[in-house]
Symmetry: C2
Subunit: 211 residues, 2 copies
C-alpha cells in the first residue's frame, strides 16, 4: 500500500509536470503569434488567458510577470525560427551558397507566414527600439546570432575568392539584411509576394550570383 501510494504520487507528479509543460507550450505558441499581430508589449496575461481559454491564475502559475512572459515568448520564437529558418540550411555548402540559402529560408518563412505578422524579431525590434531593458537586450542577442551566421559564411566566401578581397563584409551584411528586413516590412504591410522575389534577386545580385 505504502509503495503503491508512493508510486501513484510520483505518477501524479509526473502528470502534473507534463500537463504544466503542455500548457506552458500552448501559452507560448499563442503568445508568439499574438506578439507579431498586436505587439509583444501588448501581451497581457489577461488577454492571453482569454485567447487560450485558461484562467488568469493558471497563467500566473507559469509566468509571474509580463516581462517574464515576454522573455519566454522570445525564447520560444527563437526556437521556432531556428527550426524553420536556420535548421534546413545547415547542410548547405559553406560560403556564398549558405548565404543565399539563409536568405531564401528567411524569405520562405515570411511567405509561409510561420509568424502571422512576418518576422517575429523584426516586429519585436521595431516595438522595443526605444525601450531599453532586458527585453530589448534579448532581441539584440538574437540579432547578434543572426548576423554571426552571415559573417561566418561571408568570411569563408572571401577566403575562397568568391567575394572581392576589398569587400567590406559589414557593409555587405548591412545591404543583405536590409533586403530581408524590407521584404518583411513590405510583405507584412501589403501581402504582395513579389517583394519576396525582389529580395531574393537583390541578395543574389549583391553577392554576384545570377538569379
Amino acid at each position: 500500500m505504502t509503495s503503491t501510494a508512493s508510486t501513484d504520487g510520483v505518477r501524479a507528479g509526473r502528470r502534473v509536470r507534463a500537463d504544466g509543460q503542455r500548457s506552458r507550450r500552448a501559452i507560448l505558441e499563442a503568445a508568439t503569434q499574438l506578439a507579431t499581430l498586436e505587439g509583444l508589449d501588448r501581451l497581457s496575461i489577461g488577454d492571453l488567458a482569454a485567447d487560450i481559454g485558461m484562467s488568469k491564475s493558471g497563467l500566473y502559475a507559469h509566468f509571474r510577470s509580463k516581462e517574464e512572459l515576454q522573455l519566454a515568448t522570445i525564447d520560444a520564437a527563437e526556437v521556432l525560427f531556428d527550426e524553420v529558418v536556420v535548421g534546413p540550411v545547415r547542410g548547405a555548402e559553406p560560403g556564398i551558397p549558405s548565404v543565399i540559402a539563409l536568405a531564401d529560408s528567411f524569405l520562405d518563412h515570411l511567405g509561409a507566414r510561420i509568424f502571422l505578422g512576418g518576422c517575429f524579431f523584426a516586429c519585436a525590434s521595431a516595438e522595443f527600439q526605444s525601450k531599453d531593458g532586458p527585453v530589448k537586450e534579448r532581441i539584440a542577442a538574437f540579432d547578434r546570432r543572426w548576423r554571426a551566421r552571415f559573417d561566418e559564411h561571408l568570411e569563408i566566401a572571401k577566403a575562397a575568392g568568391d567575394l572581392p578581397m576589398d569587400e567590406d563584409n559589414d557593409q555587405l551584411f548591412f545591404e543583405l539584411d536590409a533586403y530581408l528586413l524590407y521584404a518583411h516590412a513590405a510583405f507584412a504591410f501589403r501581402g504582395d509576394p513579389k517583394v519576396l522575389e525582389r529580395a531574393a534577386d537583390a541578395v543574389r545580385h549583391r553577392v554576384g550570383v545570377k538569379g
Copy 2:
C-alpha cells in the same frame, strides 16, 4: 457702444480660434513625438492631455475620437517630413542627383532625430501592418507619395542614360528604400551613426555614383 461690443466679439472670436489653433498644433507636435516612442495606437487622449498639461475635455474639443487624433497626427507628421526631408531637396538637379539628395535628406532627418523614434512613417507602418483601416490606408498614401518622388527621378535618370536602359526601376526602388528603412531601424535600435553612412554609401553604389 454696440459697434465696440461687436468688434470685441469679433476679436474674442479670433482669439479663441487662434488659441484653438495653437493648442491643436501643440497637441499634434506632442502626438507626433509620442507616436514614434510609444506607438500611434498608444496615443490615448488621456495620456496626451497629461503630457501637454491640457484637460481631457479640452483635448476632446479638438479630436472626437482616437482615430481622428491618429489621422491628424499622421497629417502633421507628413507636413513636418515634407518640410524637413523633401523641401530642401526640391532645388537639386533632376535624375540621379535628386535621388541621392532625397536619400541623404532622409538620412539627415534620422541623424537629427526630427522624430525621436526615427522615421515616423516606418514606425507607423510597422505598427499598423496587420491593422486594416483608415489609419493604415493613410500611411500607405504617404508611402505612395514617397515612392513617386523616387520613380520620377529614376525615370529621368534612365531617359538621360544615367541608368542602364534594362534597369528595373521597381527593383531599384526596392533596394534603395531598403537601405533607408534599415538605416532607420538600426539607428533607432542601436543609435550608431555609422549605419547612416552605410546607407548613404549603399545608395551611391547602387546608382553607380562613387561615395
